[in-house]
Amino acid sequence: MNDILAGFRDPEVARHLVDEIHRIAVEPCTLMEVCGTHTMAIAKHGLRGVMPETIKLLSGPGCPVCVTANPDIDLAIEIARQPGVVLTTFGDMMKVPGSYSSLSAEKAEGRDVRVVYSPLDSLAIAEREPDKQVVFLGVGFETTAPTVALTIREAARRKLSNWSALSLHKTVPGALEVLVNDPEVRVTGFILPGHVSTIIGTAPYEFLAREYGVPGVITGFEPVDVLQGVWMLAQQLAEGRAEIEIAYGRGVHAEGNPSAVAAIEASFVPCDAEWRGIGVIPGTGLALRPEFAGYDARARIPVTVPEPREIKGCQCGDVLRGVVLPFDCKLFGRACTPEHPVGPCMVSSEGSCAAYYRYTDYGKD
């Protein structure tokens, strides 16, 4: 396996792909990646710097932490403030600022906020500490949603009465449809997310090619993977094709993972969701199904959430839509740095601003 991974990091293969991309990408195009892991891979490996002038690489709303809206973060914080509550979540969520606070600030104030590796770990906490109300804050796209869906099912199977989930999960295709319809965003091709597609396959993206004539290539995360994705998009554009293709066949099947999709559908129903920078997108959220209402933190731990407010001067919303680059924000690198982040795109390890800041020399190109 390590040999295979080494192959996808091979500088020789990468160089040939770069040459091929230069050869065929004659017409100007704007390719958007919608996965925070791609944002980091492109910045880390300096791939923006090796693209021909005709290819502009933009980052979209691919970081689930970054697109979580303030009212939702505020809700999680209010739940964490309730007596007897243990709020468990992924590490990425801790430092993300809501309107007035963050989970890590709350933890410093003495609230019981714990980082877990897997949602199943929060079930173990609930079993170990029966006098506590354990809440799992679920954030993430289709990659993560089935892990929480199965954890909800497992909680029901174990008849846990002190565990619930706060689902802030979102689904990707609806956001892409908003972007292709946004006159401020002009995307000619999508570098589609690898592990979201591991779950959902190609079908949910087909409308992009069919109805909008915008091609998409499902892409992996090693440098050769990303270059192969860009190369396949450049080929489609050069040939005037618009299709949804897979450049990450070792991890993605066209049909996705039917067991995982079934798990999502068994625990969740689509609901409207607010995306930072974009607004409410109908049907892109995942709410617990009525039969799991007993495991829904929104019902179990009712709280009053203060009026949300936006951070002054922060352009994360525009960065997430690909309308401005991180460098264009007046706060970037001055008031807003990874040490003292103002907006979520600088907080998250996968945020566009954090990626640009960390790999400045590449990002400026």
Binding site: D121, H195, G249
Partner: protein
């Protein structure tokens, strides 16, 4: 956030579909609930404590070979250009 790490299954799954995997030398238990076809010795992509897909190693090897061939083809084209010969024209387009 949507990162998934390749890991090798090193134990038979137990009654609740948990199995031990080796992630770059680190052992941990993950759920195989989403990958009912995964077998001992398979590589799987692991995300948040769950295997989300069996890695298609054969496919990976084939795509590397394809990309490698492209590099050879490309090098041939360059050589042909440098030689001033028109052999490059005979190389089929990819």
């Amino acid at each position: 956030m949507c990162l998934a790490i390749p890991a090798r299954i090193v134990s038979e799954p137990n009654e609740i579909e948990m199995a031990e995997v080796d992630i770059l030398g680190v052992k941990r238990h993950v759920s195989l609930m989403m990958t009912p076809d995964a077998k001992l010795g398979d590589h799987v992509l692991v995300h948040a404590g769950f295997a989300i897909q069996v890695v298609d190693e054969e496919f990976a090897a084939e795509s590397l070979e394809m990309l490698g061939r492209m590099g050879i083809k490309h090098a041939d084209e360059l050589d042909a250009e440098l030689d001033g010969s028109d052999e490059a024209a005979e190389v089929p387009a990819s």
